[in-house]
Subunit: 186 residues, 2 copies
DNA sequence: TGTTTTGTGTGACTCAAATCACAGAAACAA
DNA sequence: TTGTTTCTGTGATTTGAGTCACACAAAACA
C-alpha cells in the first residue's frame, strides 16, 4: 500500500488520516503468470494499480490476431478503459506476463474518491493528462513512424521491458509483424 | 460564452456567480480561414475551446509530409497537448479550415480554475477521460484496421466533417494516401 | 532428465498500399 | 471573366512489409 501512497503523494500531498480513508477503497490481489485479470465479454469491474509484475492489455481481431494496447508494470494503471468508463462488457483481455500484485479499484469507488477528496480528483486529472499525452505521441508514431522508428522509440521509452518480454509481443504492440521486427536489428 | 456555460453545465452544474468568475479566465478570438493559431516552434500559450468553425491540428515529418492529429469543431477542445502541458515549444500546427471563434485558456488559468473550483477540476477530468478513451479507440483502429475500416469508422463518427472538408485531409488523418482513399469508395 | 511448448532468425514469395504521373473538375482570386 | 491554385479520380509501376515455411534455440514443464 505504501507504493500507492508514494505515488499519490507525488502529485497531491495527503496526510495519514486521508490515506487511511483512501486506502479502504482498494482491494489487493495477487496474480500469477498466465492468469487473466479480464477477458472479452466480462463485466469490467476494476481499474488496476500495478504494485509489481508485468501485464499486457490486448484485444483480438476478426482473424484471431492479437494486438497489444498497453503494457503495464510497477506504478502503472491499467484497464479496458473504453469499457470500464462506459460500464460495458470488455472487448479486451488483461494477462499477467510476470507474477505480481495489483490494487483493484471499482468505478464507483473511483468516483467516490474524486467527489470526496478534491485532491484525489486532482490526482486522477493529472494522471489522465499524462496518459492523454502519451497516447497522442503513440498515435503520431503509428501515423508517421516507420517500423524502425517505432522500434527505436519503444526501446528508448521502455528499456527494461525490452529485456523482460519476448520480441513477439513488442511486435504486437508496435503493429509490425514478428518477422519484420526481427529483421530490423541486424 | 453561453456555449461554454452549457458545455460545462452538462458535466458539472454551476451557478451564475460561479460562471461569472470562470469566464474571466477565457479570452475570445475570431479566426479566419487559413489563419494559423499555432506553428511549430511557437510557445504554446493556449488551449482552445471551439465556439464555431473547423480547425485541423497537424504536424509535418522529415519528408515534408503532413499528418493530422485532430480535427476540431463546435464544443471541442484543441491544442498541441504534449507541448501545452509540458510548456515546451510547439511541434504542431493549428490551422483554421472554416472561419469561426475560439475561447483561449492559458495553462496557468486552467490550473487556477481547477484549484479554485472542485467542479472545474471534475469537469476537466471528465473531458480528459472521454478524450483518453477516444484516443485508445483510434489507436486500436490504426493498429488493426484496414484503410477501408478506418474510413468507414471516420464516416460513422464525423458524418458532417465528411461533407465539409476535402478528402485529402481525411486521408492525412487516417494515415492513408490520398489515392488509396479515393479508390475505396468505388 | 527428456519432452513439449514457445520464441527467434532467415529465405522465398505475395500483395496491398505508396508513389509517380497525368487530366479534368471545382474552388478561389484578381 | 480569366487565370491560378487546389482537389479528385485513375492508370502504371514500385516497394515495403506481410505471409508462408522451415530450422534451430530457449524456456517451461512434468
Amino acid at each position: 500500500m505504501e507504493k500507492l501512497r508514494t505515488h499519490i503523494q507525488h502529485i497531491a500531498p495527503i496526510n495519514d488520516e486521508e490515506f487511511e480513508e483512501i486506502k479502504t477503497h482498494f482491494t489487493l490481489k495477487k496474480v500469477r503468470k498466465g492468469q487473466y485479470l479480464l477477458s472479452e465479454g466480462d463485466e469490467v469491474k476494476h481499474e488496476y494499480f500495478v504494485l509489481s509484475g508485468i501485464y499486457k492489455v490486448f484485444y483480438i481481431d476478426g482473424q484471431e490476431k492479437e494486438y497489444i494496447l498497453q503494457f503495464a508494470q510497477e506504478n502503472w494503471w491499467m484497464s479496458d478503459y473504453p469499457s470500464f468508463f462506459k460500464q460495458k462488457d470488455a472487448t479486451m483481455y488483461i494477462e499477467c506476463l510476470v507474477e505480481g500484485e495489483v490494487l483493484c479499484l471499482t468505478l464507483q469507488n473511483r468516483e467516490k474518491l474524486s467527489a470526496t477528496f478534491h485532491k484525489m480528483e486532482h490526482f486522477f486529472r493529472v494522471k489522465l493528462t499524462n496518459g492523454y499525452v502519451a497516447l497522442q505521441l503513440r498515435i503520431k508514431l503509428l501515423l508517421s513512424g516507420t517500423p524502425q522508428q517505432r522500434y527505436e522509440e519503444f526501446a528508448r521509452l521502455y528499456p527494461n521491458l525490452m529485456q523482460q518480454i519476448p520480441k513477439k509481443l513488442i511486435a504486437e504492440f508496435l503493429g509490425v509483424s514478428r518477422e519484420t521486427l526481427s529483421r530490423l536489428y541486424q
